[in-house]
Amino acid sequence: MPKTIVQEFTKGLWEELPPFRLVLGLCPVLGVTTSMENGLGMGIATTFVLFGSNFLVSMLRSIIPQKVRIACFIIIIAAFVTIVELLMQAYAYPLYLKLGVFIPLIVVNCIVLGRAEAFAYKNKVSYSIADGLGIGIGFTLSLGALGAVRELIGNGSVTVWGDVSYNLLTAFPSYQPFSFMVQAPGAFICLGLMLCVINAVGD
């Protein structure tokens, strides 16, 4: 049964939730989620690239020759990543500095290339946009959630855009921040445990 546009959109939010269901694109997931803010920022940047590349690949799918399609996809994706890089340098410079090398690395994020190859190259423009946005928003939410968990346990507080914040220390004054969680090994272990929870819930 062919899926509706709404179904193509919502599958990215649970059924094919990027870092957990399709275990792809793990580098930014592990690298930038030291805080919720970084995670959301990275997610939004990736969503923009996914939306743009899915849209353009789908529109050009009858022109792009089968044999050199991967090269064409990569050029399209790289163009959108450059747009994001320049936009972030202009309007979100502190975030750009924090995410650092991970912004140019959206080019080699398997999720973006994977959606272009597996979905946008075979489907209509409207469906591809829905797919790109759905996967992108699912990715953003996952990064935000992982960032929030790591920041809460590691720092004892969560800060978003500098003002909205939740402080665990006001509720539990004796809590000692577990700084292991915001450092490198914590990223792997936290993602592994979240994957385990999602597997358990999904079954």
Binding site: V23, L24, G25, L26, C27, L30, G31, I70, A71, I74, I75, A78, A79, V81, T82, E85, L86, G100, V101, P104, L105, V107, V108, N109, C110, L113, Q183, A184, P185, G186, A187, F188, I189, L191, G192, L193, L195, C196, V197, N199, A200, D203
Partner: protein, 190 residues
């Protein structure tokens, strides 16, 4: 920074996989068997040294010279993709034994963030040509070391009885966290 410190920093302190989180897809994807892990490690060392130096030359002598620095991302990915293609064709023709050994891992390297990441890091850290060459090689050695260590552990995990929700990727990530913890001890050495 002297070359000795640079080498230690690249292999252990800033290990590309475990401290900088670059190249995690092949890390999880090719570590189920020792054989594939060794193949991937060799392919990465081979390509990374070439990509790291060639992108450095292109960045310094083409992009900076003509004021095209904003095209860095596109230029690098095109260089890496065509380099991988070229290396594949060259090896197939002239060194078939090596080609058979690296096999399917060569094309996969195009989308390995470690390769692109090291090329970008070489530029961001403002390395000289020789530093970029040394850093590229030893980052790749660090990648191989972590990958082979991890593959060894993962072969053992296959024999263990793991609770169902933790199976496969989940336990692999937690194991990677443990190795990362071990590498974490090198922090502050340089």
């Amino acid at each position: 920074m002297g070359y000795f410190e640079l080498i230690i920093a690249c292999i252990f302190v800033n290990n590309i996989l475990l401290a900088q989180f670059l190249g995690n897809c092949p890390f999880l994807g090719t570590s189920k068997k020792m054989e594939t892990a060794v193949g991937m490690a060799m392919a990465v060392i081979f390509v990374l040294v070439m990509a790291g130096t060639i992108t450095w030359v292109i960045y310094t002598f083409v992009l900076v010279k003509f004021g095209l620095v904003y095209l860095r991302t596109i230029a690098f990915i095109v260089v890496i993709a065509s380099l991988v293609q070229f290396v594949e064709m060259f090896l197939k023709k002239s060194i078939p034994a090596l080609y058979a050994g690296l096999g399917i891992f060569l094309p996969l390297i195009t989308t390995n963030c470690a390769v692109m990441g090291v090329c970008v890091l070489n530029i961001d850290k403002e390395f000289t040509f020789l530093q970029a060459l040394v850093a590229s090689f030893f980052y790749a050695v660090g990648f191989g070391l972590a990958l082979i260590l991890f593959a060894g552990l993962r072969e053992r995990i296959l024999l263990a009885r793991v609770p169902k929700p933790l199976q496969d990727t989940s336990i692999a990530l937690i194991t990677a966290g443990m190795i990362s913890l071990a590498f974490f001890a090198f922090q502050g050495m340089v």
